[in-house]
């Protein structure tokens, strides 16, 4: 990734490259949240009664819950009644006949995201659009674009259908696969799990649903581009991925967001279920608008992500590169219930200017011979605060559990903060738990050594930071690894002299 041409970097750096606002006609619910809001959302999606009730139950819980205050982050109180809880792009019931009929603003958005023409047609839901034989986003990637709150289109469905893979908006799965939704929704993250998960459960808009049948290796990587688009519209994505026995899937989640002033709340929930011998690899590049260099604006990213290794020998691996958002509050976790199951968490969290991140993981060991690996790389620059918070819990039933945690912090400049809160709860004497931690600084001498060889300081910092993150980038799918390296350099703009 250090091979990225400087021209690209210069261009990318010239402005927040994903910071465009698209002005698309959309019908947006007036701000406010009560039972009627919840009913409205459910009705708009034509949901069955059980789901409406499920949402209402979540809402009832949420009203009784206090906002969590334990994270190492600071922000003004969120006015939940000032948020609009539903927005959908208009007129998609009877789709456009050709690209000419697609809102040009939407097409321009796709262009900025780098999606080629023929794919734009498919994504925009053009009737009879040809699905290209060779997907062009990476070698083998299917995309489900969540444009604002409603998934507009899904590509490569046929190829996936051949393999028996279901990959569709969760709002659609509610109708096409109600038995799976009813069985698994909230099974890993219950409605009352935490304040933001409860809120999401009540008002979730849309998101992806994935089911990989027994013994199937998903023929392509599945990818979702999330975007926040409407002003004042909270994003409440809900994603559910089920890997049946012996199956395998790799899922990519990437975020871009428009530049804007107001703070925006993003409270997503992602649930993963891996049955016996199944494997789920979930990779995220998070690039929401971080706010400007004075800390004005930016996304509040309060996410609940958890996977259940339900079956023996199952494996769930989270890899995340977090560079965006004004505030990140996120702990992708794994419940290791199946014997011999494996949980992994590889994380790069970068904060610059006035960004705040409180992120980490929880590895809950319940089964015998369960193994978990945590590699966290925190990079702080500017006036930012970067905090790793991790829990390793070994239950009495978890014979011979093993955990390895490595937690490294890199500081750039003298005004930023790095904090580490590793919690260990061990209830089984046979467990082996290892913890390594380090804190280092990008020194002036290192920067000068690079400059003396012709490398400018921003490139030098990028190179040092990328080197620091190598172990995590190695875990990313190829196309993400390149993007991630580039993102770090862009995100560190202005971090050095």
């Amino acid at each position: 990734m250090s091979q990225t041409s400087v021209d690209d970097l210069v261009e990318a750096r010239s402005e927040y490259s994903a910071g465009f606002v698209t002005d698309i006609e959309s019908d947006t619910l007036a701000p406010g949240l009560d039972e009627d809001t919840v009913r409205f959302i459910s009705a708009r999606k034509d949901e069955p009664q059980w789901l409406t009730d499920w949402r209402l139950k979540a809402f009832a819980h949420w009203k009784t819950m206090p906002e969590p205050k334990w994270a190492h982050v600071h922000y003004p109180p969120i006015k939940f009644q000032d948020i609009s809880y539903y927005s959908a792009p208009k007129s998609q019931a009877d789709g456009p006949q050709s690209l000419d009929e697609v809102d040009p603003e939407l097409l321009r958005t796709y262009e900025k995201l780098g999606i080629p023409l023929h794919e734009q047609a498919v994504l925009a839901g053009v009737v009879n659009a040809n699905v290209p034989p060779v997907p062009s986003m990476g070698s083998n990637v299917a995309v489900d674009v969540v444009f604002d709150s409603v998934s507009i289109a899904t590509t490569f469905k046929e190829k996936l259908a051949e393999a028996g893979v279901i990959f569709c908006p969760i709002s659609e799965a509610v109708h096409s696969h109600p038995e799976l939704i009813q069985k698994y929704l909230g099974s890993v993250i219950p409605q009352k799990d935490n304040f933001y998960a409860a809120l999401n459960s009540a008002v979730f808009s849309d998101g992806s649903f994935v089911y990989i049948p027994k013994g199937v290796r998903c023929p392509m990587e599945l990818s979702t581009y999330f975007r926040i688009n409407e002003r004042n519209t909270g994003q409440f994505e809900r994603t559910l991925i089920i890997a049946d026995a012996g199956s395998h899937v790799s899922y990519l989640e990437g975020c871009t967001a428009p530049m804007r002033d107001e703070n925006q709340l993003h409270a997503a929930v992602v649930e993963l279920i891996a049955l016996e011998d199944a494997e789920i690899k979930y990779s995220t590049v998070q690039n929401w608008y971080p706010g400007d260099e004075n800390g004005k604006g930016g996304i509040y990213n309060f996410v609940t992500k958890r996977g259940l290794c339900g079956g023996a020998r199952s494996k769930i691996s989270w890899t995340q590169v977090e560079t965006g958002s004004a505030i990140t509050w996120k702990y992708p976790s794994v419940v290791l219930r199946g014997d011999d199951s494996v949980g992994e968490f590889y994380s790069v969290a970068l904060t610059n200017n006035y960004q705040q991140a409180d992120t980490g993981t929880k590895m809950i060991h319940m089964g015998k011979n369960t193994k978990s690996t945590i590699v966290s790389k925190g990079i702080s620059a500017g006036f930012s605060e970067n905090c790793y918070r991790g829990l390793v819990r070994i239950s009495p039933t978890a014979e011979n559990a093993r955990n390895f945690t490595q937690c490294d912090s890199l500081l750039i400049g003298g005004q930023c903060g790095a904090h580490t809160f590793p919690y260990i709860e061990n209830k089984n004497n046979s467990a082996i738990i290892e913890h390594e931690a380090s804190t280092s600084k990008v020194s002036d001498d290192q920067l000068f050594a690079c400059q003396q060889r012709g490398i400018d300081s921003e490139k030098a910092v990028g190179m040092i930071v990328n080197g620091f993150c190598k172990e995590v980038f190695r875990e990313l799918p190829m196309e993400f690894a390149v993007e991630a390296g580039k993102l770090l350099e862009v995100s560190l703009e202005g971090a050095v002299g």
Partner: protein
Amino acid sequence: MSLLEVTNLHATVGAQDQQKAILKGLNISVNLGEVHAIMGPNGSGKSTLANVLSGRPGYTVTDGSMTLADEDLAELEPHERAQLGLFLAFQYPVEIPGVSNMEFLKASVDSLARARGQEQPNTAAFIKQVRLLAASVDLDPQFLKRGVNEGFSGGEKKRNEIMQLLLLEPKLAILDETDSGLDIDALQVVAEGVNRYKNENNGVVLITHYQRLLDYIVPDFVHVLADGKIVQSGDKSLALELEDKGYAWLT
């Protein structure tokens, strides 16, 4: 033709409120094809000169001028000075963990090529060239995969600097005590590298403490730096005289 012109150079070190004058009216002129040795007691300002010329932060030029190939160095950022052809072999090469030597060298060569409007070298050919150069200064090519200078011995670090000199082929090479701490074999390797580098189209400023390096790299001029100024200049025989008498008679 003149390569480096330093005239009446005054420089201070340290933060604004506690600046300390180190260079106090230094003059030196290096032509293409010449090797200049700068000798002098500890703390006389030799490294300061190298740092000021290369633009290390923390130093302030308070008077005088310095040009490389007629370009005013004071106006340029450190990386721009490097792109202009100024190379400093560090007295204490720094470690950069996580960035492999090979990656570092490629970034350097690419940056220099881009700045000069030249094409970036083909990666395969580049790797081959670097391996050969490493071997030529007795560095195990395995080192190239490790972090920059990470876990290198003192001698290996110095040989790595010479390898970079040979790879980058700058117009002006400033070597800051590259010979210190080297055994005689390593010293010969370093000297051989410098001799291989130097030609009619470049220049060398050799900062050294000991005349023994000058047995292997023959200087055209020898200067004595004391208290921030060149106090004496001569040919190679001056180095022998210094070896004999020390610096006291000059200061």
